[in-house]
Symmetry: D2
Subunit: 143 residues, 4 copies
């Protein structure tokens, strides 16, 4: 499976801003930092709202990071199709993240006509500890 | 498996307010409405922050509802152990919810010494359409 | 969602025998025992091949039971479409089953044009203990 | 997380033969081919029993491959603890495998005191096409 992205980092970030403004209600929290063949890297700079006591990032925030990053890796390879929707997301929480930014690396496991399957690995601020791991399925509307 | 809750609705809602205030940042959004043997029902009254264009409730909000409700059904049966943590959550998104409150019914599938497994069904405002379905695993700290 | 089955118990068992003979390599192990609106009940009579030391039924056998029963509840409602395929299956193993037959109750959570989502509950020989719980997604070929 | 295996390939294959003979009922089907820090590679040589019409390997066989390989990567790092049990397995089926042997690469995402989380990638005979992808949780008995 050779995958070639057709949207780059800036195009993805612009698309999130214009078509998905609600994820930026609290400032620019989600940021695509890299795009490659079958992959996207997204950074999350958490604010108070995303934290739990002790400074750890909340579960729903980790879920949102995996979900938005998975959406981006799909869009990067099929173009800005706003109607792709998550049908399934399975997430394992592995370690409590330290306070600080998180990085999510997403990889397309499959890009079919109707379904895309994505793996998402979320790393802590040190870039080494795997904080959470998810697999997601997106349904792709008929083109 | 006979399960007897040891925290009632009011005790659960008080616990959420005192130990989990961050989920109420935007007003009282999550509300335990019923507790039974092995079950908890939680209501979500979404505000603007939880909505996507068209008035539909966002995926991360559905995730948070399933996760908090699962936490409550565990606490209801083991007492206020703040350190129970989600280790896995698998969610299927079934239908776009209509605008309006959502109801999540949680059921303990297993309550072991180390792990609890919970099923969560999220219904739309009409109380009939199944909007999302999740299973979650919580790790229970040694008592 | 009102669901009306269009294949009954005998039609499903005949379909399994003619189109899916490999699941009966070791004798008639899988048996549909009941069909209702949105539901199918399947019985597994394990033989030596399905057991682990101590007489407990193996994980792959529990997986196969959930998967075949999920397939049957889809077929029961869309007709004998041999090409429906599992795209995702998430299974929680809850208790070691006692030796003896197992019963799997399947329920359609969603029956869309492209995807069906099914919940499967596997009970032990006593009919009360929940041994395993699964959710599965089937992709439905265009009709 | 630095992981050092304490069982090598031959030790794992011997353990499977002596403690898990039932997986070899039909001949030596499962074979550990490589062990590394946090990883195990397992080969499956399917026989008639594992095939579906058209020569494709069945879903339960792919499940069993992911499950046994995940078990081996846990054992490789904690030693031959026969009582580690799968508590959750989530599998995505991505492509119909071509006839021929399959290879499963397993990676420890977390090795805790109580739980291990493993990622399993199953490749087809060509060694390139990703046929299925799974994540599994194993419960580790107190040592």
């Amino acid at each position: 499976m050779t995958l070639t992205p057709i949207m780059d980092r800036d195009a993805l970030n612009r698309f999130l801003e214009t078509d998905f403004p609600q994820i930026h209600t609290d400032g620019k929290v989600f940021d695509v930092t890299d795009v490659g063949p079958g992959t996207v890297v997204m950074r999350l700079a958490p604010n108070e709202r995303h934290l739990r006591p002790g400074g750890t990032v909340s579960g729903p925030t980790l879920f949102a990071l995996a979900d938005v990053a998975a959406y981006c890796v799909v869009l990067a390879h099929i173009g800005p199709v706003a109607l792709a929707v998550t049908t399934n997301l399975n997430i394992n929480f592995l370690r409590r993240p330290e306070p600080g930014p998180l990085t999510c690396t997403c990889r397309l496991l499959k890009l079919g006509k109707r379904l895309a399957v994505i793996e998402a690995s979320i790393f802590g601020a040190d870039g080494e500890d795997l904080v959470a791991h998810a697999t997601a399925t997106y349904s792709i509307p008929p083109r």
